[in-house]
């Protein structure tokens, strides 16, 4: 009993001492294996590029664009890319607090632009031009419905089907499935101003909307709701757009008077002013980034229906499309 008592503390002390010595000079192996695998990138380039804080808004199409740009910047210039999962509003606040550098797909937020652009706000963000995607928002029905009732795609016929769209949530009226609250939307006003016998019931998220449309198509259920393109789900279930009165400028102003379809939006890139002036090579990449709805859908489908990690899906697309990628490189 006695001997170990006396010896053990000494042993422990020796072990601690040895450890301290070892750890002081340790780490060599990891450093080597690190650069072997190439995951850390090259030091000189890393310091040149620095950090890129990429906001990732909550829809898969956005993820596709964000990760393609981000992975490209990381692999080509060794940037440290932070993907930050944020809703739009929070992302914009991030420009001002310095937490966000890039919003890669903006659907038009006049109120936020007023707050953060130099013209009338604090100047922490600036417009970096279109990303090539055409944003289409509108009212959609599942394909089976459009096929069986072709006239349903005209808004003027909607009221005669209102009863068929009724659900437990719509209180006798037809149910219109609204969108995630963070999206741009005027459906309540449109329903009211076009005298439609519908009630807007929010789906609350992209996921819920997709689930609802998927189920509606599979079970041939009646469903009409807010949807948009580009969106990978369209390749799985090609929803059919309902024609609302065509958009003309001003028909959504003020919001409560909206009585027309949503405009086609040129999706654009917004970046932090400070980051844009940083001279990072990634700035050029973001500035040059432009691709089509089909491109985005392809990546988004890899992420969503194939269940690939966004990083992997992005890298695969980059490998498969060298010519497009080449065009985004700094000159």
């Amino acid at each position: 009993m006695k001997r170990p008592i006396k010896r053990t503390p000494a042993l422990a002390a020796a072990a601690v001492g040895a450890l301290l010595v070892l750890s002081a000079c340790g780490g060599g192996d990891i450093e080597q294996s690190g650069s072997d695998s190439g995951a850390g990138g090259d030091d000189s380039q890393a310091s040149e590029c620095g950090d890129v804080n990429m906001a990732v808004n909550p829809w898969v199409g956005y993820q596709a664009s964000a990760y393609v740009v981000g992975e490209l910047a990381a692999s080509e210039f060794g940037c440290t890319v932070e993907y930050r999962d944020l809703k739009e509003e929070v992302s914009w606040a991030g420009f001002s607090s310095g937490d966000v550098d890039v919003v890669i797909e903006d659907w038009g937020h006049p109120d936020l632009e007023k707050q953060y652009f130099a013209k009338s706000g604090d100047g922490s963000a600036e417009d970096f031009g279109p990303n090539g995607n055409q944003g289409v928002i509108g009212w959609y029905v599942p394909p089976w419905l459009a096929k069986e009732h072709p006239d349903i795609t005209d808004w003027e016929n909607l009221n005669q089907y209102a009863e068929d769209f009724a659900t437990s949530e719509s209180g006798g009226q037809g149910q219109f499935l609204g969108s995630d609250p963070s999206y741009v939307q005027f459906d309540e006003a449109i329903v009211k101003n076009l005298d439609l016998n519908f009630k807007v019931v929010s789906s609350s998220s992209e996921a819920a909307s997709i689930a609802a449309f998927k189920k509606a198509e599979e079970n041939k259920e009646w469903l009409i709701g807010y949807f948009y393109e580009p969106q990978w789900f369209m390749s799985e279930v090609p929803l059919v757009k309902v024609d609302l009165p065509p958009y003309d400028p001003g028909c959504q102003e003020p919001a409560s008077a909206a009585d027309c379809d949503y405009p086609v939006t040129e999706l654009k890139k917004i970046v932090s002013t400070e980051w844009a002036d940083s001279g990072s090579p990634a700035v050029e990449v973001v500035k040059n980034f432009e691709w089509t709805n089909e491109d985005q859908n392809a990546v988004a489908a890899m992420i969503s229906s194939d269940g690939m990690a966004p990083e992997d899906a992005a890298m695969q697309w980059i490998e498969d499309n060298p010519d497009k990628v080449e065009g985004w490189m700094p000159s």
Partner: protein, 663 residues
């Protein structure tokens, strides 16, 4: 003999009270009948309904406040201070992340790899909680790695511990202060109430104005949410120290400081540790939600999976959180027991314990060194376990959703048509003043004059938020969900209390249900029921039922075995024992379960807003999502707080009144 007294006695008493004054339920029915009569005539008038995207001057005023706040960023002292704080949090947090979770540039891996982290965690848990817990801790950490979520898990742990550390540093002194001063108690209690009932969504966005996004905001939000339990419970513990001991030690001439440090704190230690345990659990749940402001950790894969509808992936991340919760819960609990047993074991054991710690500590340091040096010990080896579990869960969920689709729609439609819609019609389509009077009348019946007064104040508050109608719709959902929770709680609680084997099986399931982030089961609920109020109710029931079931089970177990024995000896059937002896005698537990059920259900309001619940939940999410509706979100948060305080106080008063009836 005593049984006839119990059964006969209650019968006589029942008749007696009937003669004296009408019982509560009769008054309740009367109020309901009057309400329905008035509603039939006035239905649809003055309902104060506001369209989903409608907002009022008050809401815009709140929104304006936010704008002013942003504009004053450069000059606002508070924001300057929080900005500095945020930087501090970010750098400490970043350092911790590089230490154990994230690549520490230029290294491709953290300073200390998985082997070292596990070694240190094992050593620590052995030091404070014993070897059984060590096994649990090691297994937990290994499962984080094996499920492929090592980095996210450690990030969650960092945020949790960081926030808990601050919560304890601030909360324990507050608790001492509260325990010694009535004034402080009066001032702090409503603040703590608000901290615990305001939905996270409401303060996440304003917090980003002060703390930015990412780790600092996550730590700040988690801290705010986790502060209340430790302050409350520790203050209660300190206050409950036996007066006779305080007097005896005072008589020896101790100073106030000696009294606190040598007597009050050591004697309240067990209760304080319960408080710490609760704070850790609260922190863990908020650390997940903080993913909405880019808080690092397991919340991120959960949210990403939610938006891509991947039940399997979300489940794996959620499962890691459950494991972490169980690990932290058992460790803190065991640590409190352990400290005493070690002290009591006497000198020799203490010495042996120290030797073991020294040796194992040295071994742990060697492992830390290895994990700094060799890649195999630094980076957790890739496994397919996570993805295969995800795939299995996914296919299971797919099967369930496709198979039970028809059944579930039926259930949903029935409950909606028979329960939800009529009640909502009554609450939300009554003129606001009628509903207010009726609710206040119910509060009077249940909670007496004081309950009625509280309800009145809260109803006035709700009216002032300009969200009366939405509040009534939310209240409807809360009531229906709580009803379902209580049905479950009574059925399962009785079963658990009467059959220990059922208890053994169910309890871990309930623990898991309580700690699993709700986002995980939102997806299958959505697939089964679509974006509806019923889906939100299902999610709320899953979240709230475990607590209520446990409370009912414990309440029934607390019924004196002698009474049950006597009832059985008198020839009662099991049904009679349950309905005439156990349930009535566990009344306190039932009311407490209802109280907790209501609050837990209410706290799911905003989560419900993510799956189509509408009303206040939608308003909150909208306020979080779109700048111009910020003020509406704040108003919705206030309405939720008013609802919460009203439901809590009325049920608590009701509990006190039944308690008074028992004695």
């Amino acid at each position: 003999m005593s049984v006839t007294a119990v059964r006969g006695g209650s019968g006589v008493e029942g008749i007696g009270s009937l003669l004296r004054r009408p019982p509560g339920w009769l008054l309740g029915v009367a109020v309901l009948a009057l309400w329905i009569a008035a509603w039939a005539g006035l239905r649809g008038n003055d309902t104060l309904a506001l369209p989903g995207l409608g907002r009022t001057g008050l809401h815009d005023w709140f929104t304006g406040l936010k704008g002013d706040l942003i504009d004053s960023r450069e000059s606002n002292v508070l924001m300057q201070v929080t900005g500095v704080l945020a930087d501090l949090l970010a750098s400490i947090g970043g350092w911790l992340q590089e230490l154990v979770a994230q690549p520490a540039f230029p290294r491709p891996v953290p300073q200390v790899g998985w082997l070292g982290v596990i070694a240190v965690a094992a050593w620590l848990s052995h030091a404070i909680a014993g070897w059984r817990i060590t096994l649990l801790v090691v297994a937990s950490f290994l499962s984080f790695g094996l499920l492929g979520l090592w980095e996210d898990s450690l990030d969650t742990l960092i945020v949790t511990f960081f926030a808990v550390g601050i919560a304890l540093a601030i909360g324990l002194p507050l608790a001492v202060w509260m325990a010694t001063s009535k004034t402080v108690t009066t001032l702090l209690t409503p603040v703590l109430d608000v901290l615990q009932t305001v939905p996270a969504f409401i303060y996440l966005l304003p917090l980003t104005l002060f703390f930015g996004i990412g780790l600092p905001a996550a730590v700040a939000a988690t801290f705010l949410y986790a502060l209340a339990p430790v302050v409350r419970i520790a203050a209660h513990g300190i206050r409950s120290v036996a007066a006779s001991t305080l007097e005896a030690t005072d008589s020896l001439g101790q100073t106030g400081r000696q009294r606190l440090l040598q007597v009050q704190l050591p004697m309240a230690k067990k209760t304080i540790i319960v408080g710490i345990n609760q704070t850790v659990m609260a922190a863990l749940s908020m650390a997940t939600i903080a993913a909405f402001v880019d808080g690092p950790g397991l919340g991120q894969p959960v949210l990403r999976a939610l938006s891509a509808q991947q039940v399997g992936t979300a489940f794996v991340a959620g499962f890691c959180i459950v494991i972490m919760a169980v690990m932290l819960d058992r460790t803190t609990t065991a640590a409190s027991v352990r400290a005493e047993t070690v002290a009591r074991a006497g000198g020799r054991d203490v010495r042996r314990h120290r030797i073991v710690l020294a040796v194992s500590g040295a071994a742990a340091l060697v492992l830390v060194y290895l994990s700094r040096t060799y890649l195999w010990a630094a980076e957790f080896p890739d496994t397919d376990l996570g993805s295969s579990v995800a795939a299995a869960v996914q296919s299971g969920a797919d099967w369930v959703t496709s198979t039970f689709d028809v059944v579930t729609s039926g259930v949903k439609n029935q409950v909606t048509a028979l329960l939800l819609n009529p009640l909502q019609d009554l609450l939300a389509n009554s003129p606001w003043w009628l509903a207010a009077v009726a609710i206040a009348a119910f509060a009077l019946v249940l909670g007496g004059v004081r309950g009625c007064l509280t309800a009145g104040v809260c109803l006035a508050g709700i009216y002032l938020t300009d969200l009366w109608n939405d509040s009534m719709v939310t209240l409807t959902m809360v009531l229906v969900a709580t009803l379902l929770v209580m049905v479950l709680a009574v059925v399962l609680g009785v079963w658990m209390a009467r059959r220990p084997s059922v208890d053994t099986v169910l309890r871990p399931v309930l623990d898991a249900g309580q700690t699993m982030p709700p986002f995980v089961y939102l997806i299958p609920a959505l697939l089964l029921f679509g974006p509806t109020r019923f889906t939100a109710i299902v999610a709320a029931v899953i979240y709230a039922a475990p607590v209520a079931i446990k409370l009912v089970a414990d309440g029934i177990k607390g019924v004196s075995p002698t009474t049950v024995e006597a009832a059985t000896a008198a020839g009662s059937t099991p049904w009679q024992v349950i309905t005439r002896v156990q349930l009535p005698m566990a009344r306190g537990g039932l009311v407490l379960a209802a109280n907790q059920g209501l609050l837990f259900v209410l706290s799911m309001t905003v989560i419900g807003g993510l799956v189509g619940a509408g009303a206040l939940g939608y308003d909150s999410v909208l306020g979080f999502s779109q700048g111009e509706f910020f003020g509406k979100g704040i108003a919705a948060g206030a309405a939720i707080v008013f609802l919460g305080i009203m439901l809590d106080r009325v049920t608590r008063r009701a509990a006190e009144r039944t308690g008074a009836g028992v004695h």
